[in-house]
Amino acid sequence: MNKDYILGVFKDEESLVEAFEKVKQKGILPFEVYTPYPVHEILEGMGNKTRISHAAFFFGLFSAIGILTFLTWAATISWPINYGGKPTNSFPSFIVVTIVATILSITLLTLFTFSARAKIFPGKVPEIFHSRATDDRFVMVIDKKSLGENEESVNAIITAHGEVE
């Protein structure tokens, strides 16, 4: 039993979602919810938003422009060379590399962004509230401070669907 947090532990998704919604109706946003797989009601209910796809779009836009510019510059200005009678600015050839290299840049940059924003990186020590949250338990963590006088009723909601630990 944690001193600062109440842990609601549920056996299945439905119980969690129902309890979660009831807790929210009380005006209380749980500190965090841990699930073995993504539960969309929770992800929406927690009110977080991710702009990772927007970031990816801009990564792509800038890499594509950057790569194409580099290729054109290197082939026509830096050192123009005649390969098989083609013009030095052989734009169609550049497209191929631009596409693939852009994809690579997007992937790497998005991964770094994800790592940074979700704080998932090698060597991170996880804060584990419940060891079965990655296995078969759905865990709702509620900060006692946020509860105020609702502690009892929240406990009741949780015990109705799962158990408090």
Partner: protein, 460 residues
């Protein structure tokens, strides 16, 4: 939400979430079986043999291979394209089926992605070692240098290829790895030994399964899935430009990009089938990888096989239609008949004819037949690359340069080594990594529960 009613249940045996974790992770937590050690020894043996072949190649030169002035690419590039093709399965599985919302993929995509990473690694060895001076491979990077700076030739399909392959390796590996984070966390949290906890703890990157992580994780999957779909199509298209951009007869073919992509997915799916049938047999995963999964893959293969057959016939038709004597000679006198007829027909029958047996439900439901046909497809796809590369080079424009080609044992050994590498990778995967994406499987498992509440049914 996803409706699985059409497909029926995706996993068998009414398993609880805990059971799913336990059963999928059992190869990791349980005692390693003897056959695993024997198989690993076999695989390492092949790898060692390949290592010796590579040692000879590096110490003496490419002359140890059977290549010559006319046929300067042989088994090296055949195997490269073959492995890359197989390597397409993982991403293709994950991406296309994700886009098509085919939830049944969840049981297979992890294995397919693992296969991708190992196969692409095996494939990458060939372009590296087929070089005369592999220690200078870094010349291919357009890095600023003191020679001008001298950049590289952006017109060269090999440069495109290099970019594509390295991108593909990096992306598929990270796609695969990041997909495994939640499962590593599961292992970390279910493991009993301290070492395992620590090792998998590091591998899990501190994953806890919080809603914030899941939110971004889903966002990441969405982004990577979207761009990796483009990648799958572009990588093998680019591999095909190695041939299509050239002037050689039988290479200079505009049909190649789609033909290669489909061929790659074909061989990839076949290899997935091989692997998955083995997983079922060796680890009793029948409940997760059900007969219906196998059935679905087989049906996909029928379709792709028809495309392959069409592509072969199109190529032959176009050769005739072009009226070019060189093309006509290549296809009608060198492939359909003539010195390389055996290889051509092996390819044609294995890829376009035999997979049609999957029309019969009896064939699809007999695992040994599925296994055998999947192997035949892989052999057929190997011969497809053989056909393209060797027949074209050995008899091109000037008959004075017509030269037969056969590999030396060094090349064969190198290939055996990559098979060893692949098997080693797969065995390690069986042993140390959850074979099936647990978290994804759990998310589909809920829809299978017969005791669903009425309320939840409304959700769907």
């Amino acid at each position: 939400m996803y409706n699985s009613a059409v497909r029926g249940r995706l996993i068998d045996g009414n398993k609880s979430l805990g059971q799913i974790s336990e059963e999928i992770l059992s190869p990791i937590h349980a005692k390693t079986p003897v056959w695993w050690y024997l198989a690993l020894m076999g695989a390492l043996g092949m790898l060692g043999f390949g290592g010796y072949a590579i040692f000879l190649t590096l110490s003496k030169g490419l002359g140890t291979w059977g290549l010559n002035n006319s046929v300067a690419w042989g088994w090296d590039i055949i195997n490269f394209v073959w492995w890359i093709g197989i390597g397409h399965a993982g991403t293709a599985f994950s991406i296309f089926l994700l886009i098509l919302r085919q939830k049944w993929r969840t049981a297979i995509n992890r294995a397919a992605e693992a296969m991708t990473v190992v196969a692409v690694m095996a494939a990458a060895l060939f372009p590296l070692l087929h070089m005369g001076r592999p220690w200078l491979f870094f010349y291919i990077f357009p890095y600023p240098n003191t020679r001008g700076p001298l950049w590289v030739n952006f017109n060269s399909p090999l440069f495109w290829d290099f970019v594509a392959i390295s991108a593909y390796l990096l992306i598929s590996a990270s796609f695969w790895y990041f997909g495994m984070l939640p499962d590593f966390a599961t292992i970390r949290d279910t493991a009993k030994s301290k070492i395992k906890k620590a090792v998998y703890g590091i591998m899990a990157f501190g994953w806890t399964g919080s809603s914030r992580e899941w939110l971004r994780f889903e966002g990441l999957s969405f982004v990577l899935g979207g761009i990796a779909a483009v990648l799958v199509v572009s990588v093998h298209s680019i591999v095909s430009t190695d041939f299509a951009v050239s002037v050689e007869v039988g290479w200079h073919t505009t049909i190649f990009p789609p033909y290669f992509v489909v061929g790659a997915i074909f061989s990839g799916f076949a290899m997935v089938l091989t692997l998955v049938v083995m997983m079922r047999k060796l680890y009793n995963m029948n409940d997760f990888i059900t007969n219906r999964h196998i059935d679905a893959v087989c049906r996909v293969l029928i379709f792709i096989s028809l495309i392959m057959g069409t592509a072969y016939l199109t190529e032959i038709f176009v050769a005739w239609y072009s009226g070019s004597p060189y093309e006509m000679y290549m296809f009608f006198k060198n492939r359909l008949t003539g010195e390389y007829a055996l290889e051509f027909w092996t390819m044609f029958i294995s890829n376009a004819v035999i997979p049609q047996l999957f029309w019969f439900k009896k064939v699809r439901s007999k695992m040994w037949m599925v296994f055998v046909i999947s192997i035949i497809i892989n052999i057929g796809m190997w011969f497809e690359r053989y056909n393209i590369i060797v027949t074209s080079l050995s008899r091109d424009y000037l008959p004075s340069s017509w030269t037969p080609y056969s590999p030396t044992w060094v090349e064969v050994g190198f290939f055996a080594g990559t098979i060893g590498l692949f098997l080693t990778g797969v065995l390690l995967f069986f042993r140390f990594i959850p074979m099936i994406a647990i978290s994804e499987l759990k998310s589909v498992a809920k829809f299978d529960k017969p005791q669903k509440s009425v309320k939840h049914a409304n959700h769907e």
